[in-house]
Symmetry: C2
Subunit: 529 residues, 2 copies
Amino acid sequence: MSDPVTQSSAMPACAVPGADPAERRRRIRAAFDPELFRAAGRNVVEQLADHLSRVESSSAAVLNWRPPPENVAAARRLLEEHASDAAPSAAMLAERFAGVVATMLDRGHNLHDPRYIGHQVPASVPLAGLFDAVGSVTNQVMAIYEMGPWASAVETAMVEVLGEQIGWQPGRFAGFVTHGGSLANLTALLTARNVSLAGVWEQGVRGGDQLPPNASARRSPVLVAHAEAHYCIARSAGILGLGTGNVIRAALDERRRIDPNRLDETLARLRAENRPIVAVVACACATPVGAFDPLEDIADVCRRHDVWMHVDAAHGAAACLSDRYRHLVAGLDRADSLVWDAHKMLFVPALCAFVFYRDRERRFEAFRQDAPYLFDPSAPGLAEFDSGLKTVECTKRAAAFGLWGVWTLFGRQLFADMVDETFDLGRLLYEKLRSASDFEPLHEPQCNIVVFRHVPEALRDAPPERLGAFQLDLRRAVIESGEFYIVPTAVGGVGALRVSIINPLTTPDHFDALLAALREHGRRLVARR
Amino acid sequence: MSDPVTQSSAMPACAVPGADPAERRRRIRAAFDPELFRAAGRNVVEQLADHLSRVESSSAAVLNWRPPPENVAAARRLLEEHASDAAPSAAMLAERFAGVVATMLDRGHNLHDPRYIGHQVPASVPLAGLFDAVGSVTNQVMAIYEMGPWASAVETAMVEVLGEQIGWQPGRFAGFVTHGGSLANLTALLTARNVSLAGVWEQGVRGGDQLPPNASARRSPVLVAHAEAHYCIARSAGILGLGTGNVIRAALDERRRIDPNRLDETLARLRAENRPIVAVVACACATPVGAFDPLEDIADVCRRHDVWMHVDAAHGAAACLSDRYRHLVAGLDRADSLVWDAHKMLFVPALCAFVFYRDRERRFEAFRQDAPYLFDPSAPGLAEFDSGLKTVECTKRAAAFGLWGVWTLFGRQLFADMVDETFDLGRLLYEKLRSASDFEPLHEPQCNIVVFRHVPEALRDAPPERLGAFQLDLRRAVIESGEFYIVPTAVGGVGALRVSIINPLTTPDHFDALLAALREHGRRLVARR
């Protein structure tokens, strides 16, 4: 291994700075000094408050676009800049800290700008970030209860409250928080796999015991999923050793929801073929156009065929908090497992994804192991509160502080408000698009996801591939200008524009400005060809 | 699904508070008010600085122990307390915020107390939490570069710098950050599985193509791992469809490190048996007693048998930053993949785990998918910087801000200092235990992990099970008293005590106090029997 010292431009070649233990302890104490923390913290609060004020009033670019190599070089340069001074004073450090924070804010993405209507990542409630900061600064973690007693308690309380909102009875269900919807879906499907295929955890997917010894019957297990489920579902099949090729795409209706009758036929056929079915994966909603599957009907079909029903409700589960939109997730309480991302429609910072099991008895099915130095046999009753027995993560950050804190301050009503506001705005954008002759909405939205194309006069008769490429070029021009942040997609293989109204500060006026900006950039693009 | 309104004690039954859209928007704007953020932020900075000052000087309990149901009930009560006021003022909210934060701090675990010498979770550099807060408050995420251009740049720069510290040449290796060592090991082993078993991603572990059609040769693939590897390694085998039963435990030498000669024999036997070998998993270091495997020798063996070498260096990779301890990880640069948790020995808050591939060409082998609305064909060069192509997470929080920020302020030297300080203290604690007649160190430590037993006079001739149970009872008494935080483990099936000196503010005096506290609690326990 080469010598890092000679590789680092930060280290003067003539000295061995780590040699004196007293000096070493002095340097460490300086870095942990609470008064340095206080000075830096006072700076950063003012910087963040000023930044939020600027961003919420759209007085800067939405996305600060720079090509990746330029940003990487700048981030690397800062890493090496400390080289010049061996022992900076606390005042110098606080000043340097403020400078670094200013760079972070100048070069980031401004999700709190109401013109940010992009991916399913919200303009988060700012105070949620402060609750998270309490966890970060004090490094509260879980795995076992005692490492983060309050973090564990907060997560448990939040699981209870959200599970009851889904419609379950206290004490009958279980849940936990993990780092993101993909990991949440993976963990739930791991449980489904372990439940569906006897012996698979210990013996692997090749193991013989889960299937009849009759060779012709030994067929690969399948996962049946909404044909437009998030890519993490097929990835889960790849990760879990089932194979992405063994994901059966459930047929959709004209609104791109699972068709329960055809699902029934599919499951009947698979049963007749003796293929083990790990789970049916329904969506609430599916990502491309925000289509909510008919969960009650799907639950009936799954029950008929005795198949595990999983619902990826990462985006849409929050509808259960809304009087106006709860109907979209009717039947969610019948899922065997489901995923609910608080860092989507509960408007907290990433990552805070919930997994729920309807049947509390399933909570330890994903993993079946022990680590003697973790789970304490001298207090076995505590294991119930040890998150590490349920999650892929061993050490896990206190990911629910933001949600719990905001709920504590504002109650359930704020979350219902944000669902109502953004879902209503989805409908309103759709109406605006429909009434504009040069815009074409590509579906009737059920929530805050709206997919459309801009079709200027000049492209009215263009071939699909040209029209699709135009959408993507148009989007890139708009986002790099910093005027709006929207997302590319494809419908029927043809490029399109996609919007998630996931900043509750967005107003109808912003949609008028969006259409104007798209027209203006579109004109320039057409002229350039 | 039942009606959440009637279930929630927070909602007066007589009103439908969400009904008026103007009121709704007012409530949302109040929650997003930058001036509310400013007031709350000023409070929390003072609270955290005061808290750190108290905790670093040991003026409170280390762990605020309360039984789980008591904490859960308190966390739940706070969730429901907002009920009384429909529209709190900003001043009321800021005050309530401060009260909630005070509760979080009062009921948490104080890792910054130098008497915290517990799990491999550090007393983190406090400023790291503030850098993380910039990401949380503004909700900077990745998946695709443009969603978090600065977050992506920071992660890329940090991967470059750490990879060069491992000993690799710029541009030849690859890496990324993920949420925790378990997920990092899983992702690296997923890559190893996909590389080792042709067609497994698409066809699953049952798929026929990866093995000769000759039935007797179709044996289950295996993972060969350090016999005391972290539990997440066997879990990975379970998750990946290989089966926990197909993990072959590599034999250890007397210092609990992999014995390269016996590893050589094991691999030769497996090759002779025609069993596909997914990877060898070495540890730097293994969790139980902090044993560092002889990586150079293991690399030679792996090369001889053409097997993927993975190193779980979650804890120990940081040794490569230290002149004094770099020798422990000699050969780390020969690993095909490795895991390095910055939230362990780089002293940043959880979770920030790095995965590295020695060969840059492996970076996209874990997953092979696309999501049209994410990865933009109008700018294909950007995909190189899209983290979602490499990580289990799709949306991923800006997990490297804390590490990057601290390195930017203090340089590499601070990290080397913290490794040196805590590893030196491990040796010093061992010497103290060895020279005490009533303590028995159970190994000669290589780093900051020390395992031992307290053997008071009265138990000198006790049977092992009694002596082991005594260690666990003793530990529980000590941690519930709030005097120290240490960890239980087992050696040879018999309970023992385990310490990680992972707070660089701990001093030799604290070890004297620890031994005194163990003696005192031990006396009481013995008297009680």
